[in-house]
């Protein structure tokens, strides 16, 4: 992997090549974003094999529905991230996954926790871990529900027994913290 030369293109060039169905586009997208997307997926789906299957599904969907991406509405990564998130959330909510997950919860609780730890304490995330810790708990909880657990903001409000406006504000505050951190 380390020997492979990574392809990196400008967003404009990427979008053009992707819409033209040039194989180099999907190669570049994989090189640039497969890690970030697998990170997003793995926050929602904790089983690594299922997460990897979903990453594959995500790239196929990106490739096949490239024409539906509109760059005036948002960044390419935002679109890809939401493709990955939607596929993951659909999986999370599917009947067969819920059943297998339930079994896992009961029988392989240790593995489940380990998997979660693996993501949370990934060597790459040392900085983030500090940052996440630095966030006020109420922000972390809300962001965790909508971003990692696939809750809608309505579902999150219900879960936390908070007004919808409060949930929205807390999500905003959490992201404001991230913005401060990355700038």
């Amino acid at each position: 992997m380390a020997l492979t030369k990574k392809i990196s293109l400008s967003e404009e060039e990427l979008v053009r090549a992707l819409k033209a169905q040039e194989t180099i586009a999907i190669q570049a997208l994989y090189d640039m974003y497969s890690g970030a997307l697998l990170g997003v997926i793995s926050r929602i789906i904790l089983q690594p094999e299922v997460a990897e299957d979903l990453l594959q599904e995500t790239f196929i969907k990106i490739w096949n529905s490239a024409e539906s991406y509109d760059n005036t509405k948002g960044r390419l990564f935002t679109w890809m991230m939401n493709v990955a998130r939607n596929l993951s959330i659909d999986k999370l909510r599917s009947k067969d996954f819920k059943n297998s997950n339930k079994n896992q919860d009961i029988e392989n609780n240790v593995d489940f926790i380990d998997a979660q730890k693996k993501v949370t304490f990934n060597a790459d995330l040392l900085g983030l871990r500090e940052m996440v810790v630095a966030l006020k708990p109420e922000f972390t909880t809300v962001l965790d529900l909508v971003y990692f657990k696939g809750y809608t903001h309505m579902e999150a409000a219900e879960e936390l027994e908070l007004p919808l406006g409060t949930v929205k504000t807390r999500i905003r505050m959490a992201i404001m913290e991230l913005r401060k951190y990355f700038n």
Partner: protein
């Protein structure tokens, strides 16, 4: 500006970036974004933060997964191949050989046309020739047929004359010219028993009469002239023999030139020929 700030503060833009809004709400955000650059900028910053956050939380997939994903994408491409664009050639190139073939064909066509025209012209000319010859032959045939009929008729009459000469009931009377026309002469055949009188055109030598006059034949019966009818002196008589009125007895026959249609009594001054019946 206060309204824009409130919109930004509401947290709706974060939900937009996270894909948590309904399609209707998304359209509203996009409208606001297009209208207010500040909102567009805010969305951009949220996107970048989430992107960086995701990058910071990246998990590198195994190398095996990469191959698996590209194999899947290629397979998907294979199962749904892009329709190949077929460009129809509007003016397909014509080979030199084809042009030469066409030229040769054209020349052959013209040559064939010329030969055909010549042949047709020749055939037409020959047909005209044949038609004129047929017409000519037809005229000749009609002429021969008429001639044959005429000869046949003449032959019958000649046989009749020959019979009359041999038959004792027929008298052959030779009429000789008078003092007025000494060269005139003619012959009359008279059958005493059947009272038939015939004149012989072939043995007739008289001055040709005009249209106002005709010759009249008379029989002299006991010194009195009896009318036997009129005739013309013509060179192209259809028949040899001309039948006249009947007479049971006569001592002589005479011919006078009278007005057309004949006279009741002969004009003695214009007597042309006369002859006595031999006893």
């Amino acid at each position: 500006m206060g309204q824009t700030a409130a919109y930004i503060e509401s947290g709706t833009l974060e939900l937009y970036v996270l894909g948590l809004l309904s399609p209707k709400e998304q359209v509203e955000v996009e409208r606001m974004s297009n209208e207010f650059p500040r909102i567009k900028q805010e969305i951009r910053e949220i996107e970048l933060a989430m992107e960086q956050f995701a990058a910071a939380n990246a998990i590198n997939p195994g190398t095996a997964l990469e191959d698996k994903i590209f194999a899947a994408i290629n397979a998907a491409d294979m199962t749904s191949p892009k329709p190949e664009v077929k460009v129809a050639q509007l003016n397909p190139p014509v080979s030199v050989g084809k042009i030469r073939t066409l030229q040769f064909s054209l020349a052959a066509c013209i040559a064939l046309l010329l030969v055909s025209t010549a042949g047709l012209y020749s055939a037409h000319a020959r047909l005209d020739d044949a038609e004129s010859r047929i017409a000519q032959l037809s005229v000749q045939r009609d002429k021969f047929a008429a001639n044959a009929s005429f000869m046949e008729h003449k032959n019958v009459e000649l046989h009749q004359i020959a019979d009359m000469v041999a038959n004792p009931s027929w008298s052959v009377v030779k009429l000789a010219g008078t003092a007025a026309t000494p060269t005139s002469k003619m012959m009359v055949y008279w059958n005493r028993a059947e009272k038939v009188v015939l004149v012989d055109n072939t043995k007739m030598t008289l001055p040709t009469n005009d249209t106002a006059h005709q010759y009249q034949l008379w029989a002299l019966v006991d010194g009195k002239p009896v009318d036997l009818g009129v005739f013309d002196m013509k060179t192209d008589q259809e028949s040899i023999l001309v039948k006249m009125k009947e007479i049971p007895m006569a001592q002589a026959f005479a011919v006078t030139l009278e007005k057309r249609g004949g006279s009741i009594s002969p004009t003695m001054s214009s007597m042309m020929v006369i002859g006595n019946v031999a006893i």
